[in-house]
Amino acid sequence: MALALTLGPIPYHWSAEEKRDFYARIADEAPVEVVYVGEVICSKRSPFFDRELPEVIERLERAGKKVVLASLAEVILKRERAMTAALIESPDHEIEINNNAGLFHARGRQHRIGPLINVYNEHTLRFLAARGATHFTLPAELPREAVAVLAAAARDIGVGIEVQVFGRASLALSARCYHARAYGRSKDNCQFVCEEHPDGMPLKTLAGADFLVINGIQTLSAGYVSLVDRIDELRAIGVGHCRLMPQRIDMVGVAAVFAQRIGGAIGPDEAAARLLALDLPAPLANGFWHGVAGERRVAAVP
C-alpha cells in the first residue's frame, strides 16, 4: 500500500509572519500530501493567525496539498466551545477533532480523529467510524502491536490510519499554562511568553538532562520521535499516512528524507543518518513504538 506523508498542525506559538513563511515553503517544496492547520493548543493564540489562515490555505491548495482544519485540544471556556462548534461548520474543509467536545458536534458528519483523542482499541475505532469518522491519527504512545490491530480493523471498515513518525511527542495536557507559570504569570495574564520558545521551553532535570518541553498547557518530549527507519514496518501493518510534527528546524529537509525512504530511494540506515545530518537540536526516540520507555531509541533489528 502507498504511504503518504502529512504535516501535523504547528503546536508552538510562532508569529503570523513566521507561520505564513513556513507554509509557503511547505507549499512550494515539501513532499507532503496533507497539511493540518489551525491552533490546537491555546485558544488565546488563535486570533493572531486567523486572519492569515484563508490565504495560507489557498496557497497550500494551489500547490496541490489537501488541507485539514484541526480543532482545539482543550475545551473549557465559552470561546473554546464556540470555536469548536464553529469549526465543525466549515463548509469547504475536512476537520480533525482533538477534544471530546468536538465529537458531540461531529456526529453524523464526516470528520477525522486527531492524536489527542483516546483511540486505543478497535472497538473505539469502530464506534467512532460508525458516527462519521473516516481517518484516525493514533495517540503517540501506542505500541506497534496495538497499531497493527487497529490498522487491520480500519482496513476492514475502510477508514484511514495515520501515525506520527517525526517530531516531539505530546505527553500531557493541563488546564494550567506552564509557560506562564515559569514567568510567574497566570494563563489569563500570560502576555504570550510562549512566543519566546518557537521549539518549546526546555525543562532539564536537576542532573542537567534534557527531559521535557513546555508549550503552554502542553508538555512534550524533549526527544524527537523518529520512525524513519521503521517505514517498512508501518507499511507492512497497513498504516496509510505518516505524520511529521512541525519543529523549528528544516522541515522541508525532514520531509524530503522521509519521502526518499518511503519511495525506496534510500534505505533505513541512510535515512536515519540523513535525518541526523540535518543538525537536529534533540536526540531521536522511538521507544513508544517498541513498547518501552518512550524516550529510548531502540536500534533497528538488521
Partner: protein
C-alpha cells in the same frame, strides 16, 4: 437540570483493599469505589485491588450496610487486549456492582449494550470538561454521572450543572495530579508503562531514593532525578508532574508544574453543594486504613455539618494532607491556570 436545594450529596470513598473497604463503610461512606487486580483500573499497584472472590465478599458487606459499590474499569484497553476489560465489566455485573466507572469509548459502549441495567459513571479519565463533551457521553452511552476533571472552578461547575443531563461528582480531597487525567503519557515516556493502558502512574518498581554523601536525598523515576531533598526534609514520592526542573527563565530549579501539595476542597463544601454537586470523591485507593478512616469520618462530619447549616471543621483534615500543605487547586479561581 433542575435541582432541589440542599439535597444530600453522596460521599464516595476509596477502597484499595477489602480491609479499606470495610473501614470506609464503617466510617460513613455512602459509596465506595474499587477495582480488580489488573490493568483495567487506574490504580494498578502491587498489593492493591480485589480478586473476584474478594469483590463478591466486599459487595455483600457493603450492601448489608447500605453502601453502594462502584467498579472502576477506567483505563484504555490497547487494541488486541480488549477482552480483559470486557471480562472486568461482565464480572462486575455478575457480582452485583451498583455502577461502572468508565473512560474508554469502546468499553462504555460494551457496558451500555451488554449490561444496560447497571448504572454507568464517566471516569475523570475520560477528561470531559465541557457540557458538549459530557452530553456526548450521556447521549451515546447513557452515562448517569460524570466525575469532573480537577480543573474547573466552582463557578464553572455551577454553570455546567445547569447544562448537563446527569449527576456531577467532584474530587474533594487527596492526591492532586496536575495533568488532565486520561491525557498524560509522562510515566510511559520514562518507564515504558502507560497510565492509560496499564493503570500506573510513577510505578514503585521504577522509583529510587538515593542518599548522597551530603545527606541529600535524590528521588528518581527510571533514569531521571525528579526532586532532591535536604537532610531531614521529608522526601516526596517522585511523580513527574510534581518534580523540580531547570527552565531558561529561572535561575534555580523550580516546581515547573505545581508544588507538592494535596487537594483539600473542604472549605468550599457549602459552595460546591450549592453549585449542584451530587457526589464528593475522596482520592486514595493506595492509602492505609487509618488514613481512610480519618478522612472519611472527617468528611462525613463536614458534609453533615454543612447540610445542617454550619461551616465544616477543617483542622483534622489539614493534618492528613501530604507534607501538611494543601491547595484548593483550580476550584477557587481561574488564576490557578
Amino acid at each position: 437540570m433542575n435541582r432541589p436545594a440542599k439535597k444530600r450529596p453522596e460521599l464516595v470513598c476509596p477502597a484499595g483493599t477489602p480491609a479499606a473497604l470495610r473501614t470506609a463503610v464503617e466510617a460513613g461512606a455512602d459509596a465506595v469505589y474499587c477495582g480488580f487486580q489488573n490493568a483495567t483500573n487506574a490504580r494498578n499497584f502491587p498489593g492493591l485491588n480485589f480478586t473476584p472472590d474478594e469483590m463478591a465478599g466486599a459487595i455483600a458487606h457493603a450492601h448489608a450496610a447500605g453502601t453502594r459499590v462502584l467498579l472502576a474499569v477506567n483505563t484504555f484497553p490497547p487494541a488486541g487486549k480488549f477482552g480483559l476489560w470486557q471480562e472486568a465489566v461482565d464480572l462486575g455485573a455478575e457480582l452485583g456492582v451498583d455502577a461502572f466507572i468508565l473512560a474508554d469509548i469502546g468499553v462504555a459502549d460494551y457496558a451500555a449494550r451488554v449490561h444496560p441495567g447497571i448504572r454507568r459513571h464517566l471516569s475523570v479519565q475520560a477528561a470531559a470538561s465541557s457540557p458538549e463533551a459530557i452530553r456526548y457521553f450521556v447521549e451515546e452511552f447513557g452515562i448517569r454521572r460524570v466525575v469532573l476533571p480537577r480543573i474547573l472552578t466552582v463557578g464553572e461547575i455551577r454553570a455546567l450543572a445547569d447544562e448537563i443531563p446527569c449527576e456531577i461528582e467532584t474530587f474533594i480531597f487527596g492526591n492532586h495530579g496536575l495533568m488532565i487525567e486520561g491525557r498524560c503519557s509522562l510515566t510511559n515516556y520514562v518507564t515504558g508503562l502507560s497510565t492509560n493502558m496499564d493503570g500506573v502512574c510513577s510505578p514503585a518498581a521504577e522509583v529510587r531514593y538515593d542518599t548522597g554523601v551530603d545527606g541529600c536525598v535524590s528521588t528518581r523515576l527510571g533514569p531521571h532525578i525528579i526532586d532532591r531533598f535536604a537532610p531531614g526534609e521529608q522526601a516526596g514520592y517522585p511523580t513527574i508532574c510534581k518534580g523540580r526542573y531547570f527552565a531558561p527563565a529561572r535561575g534555580e530549579a523550580y516546581y515547573a508544574f505545581e508544588e507538592p501539595v494535596s487537594l483539600n476542597l473542604a472549605p468550599l463544601l457549602p459552595e460546591l453543594i450549592a453549585a449542584g454537586v451530587d457526589a464528593f470523591k475522596i482520592e486514595g485507593r493506595q492509602r492505609s486504613r487509618a488514613y481512610v478512616r480519618a478522612v472519611v469520618a472527617a468528611f462525613r462530619k463536614a458534609i453533615d455539618a454543612t447540610l445542617a447549616g454550619g461551616r465544616p471543621e477543617l483542622a483534622e483534615l489539614v493534618a492528613l494532607t501530604e507534607g501538611q500543605r494543601q491547595t484548593e487547586g483550580a476550584a477557587r479561581t481561574k488564576r490557578w491556570r
